[in-house]
Symmetry: C2
Subunit: 84 residues, 2 copies
């Protein structure tokens, strides 16, 4: 079966995020007051798997082996069946 994996990768809380700080500053320079700004990378992957559990395990392994750096990143995974 086909599954869609929504993987969200974000810097751990408290980590300095220069890109977010730069965007926040640019927004304020053109007049947008913001309290807080955080960035996340969303990776949407479509894979074949036997079960939803298999798909979720595959996503976890993808994160641990390539997509996320466990020292600085937190990640969340959402799995949905793809209707053909």
């Amino acid at each position: 079966m086909q599954y869609s994996l929504d993987i969200n990768i974000q810097l751990k809380g408290g980590m300095l995020d220069p890109e977010a700080a730069a965007i926040k500053q640019s927004l304020e320079r053109i007049g947008f007051k913001t309290r807080e700004l955080k960035l996340a990378k969303k990776i949407q992957v479509t894979i074949d798997a036997e079960t939803e559990k298999d798909a979720e395990n595959t996503a976890k392994q993808m994160c641990e082996r390539l997509l996320a750096n466990p020292v600085i990143h937190d990640y969340t995974i959402a799995v949905t069946v793809v209707n053909q």
Copy 2:
């Protein structure tokens, strides 16, 4: 009132995404077969606004003036009240 804006920015369909292609290739090189892989940037901004409608308009303006390039990007906005 405080509102949390979840802004999702993605390349328009059909656009070539070299970063996504590189990630897909790296995943396959370490043994993960994928059908499709798409990337999106998620920006979470906390702002003050009078109403939810005002917050949404502010988010739209942020996208149109800075965060998204209307020629190559699609964006979605989700607004939620921040409970203090």
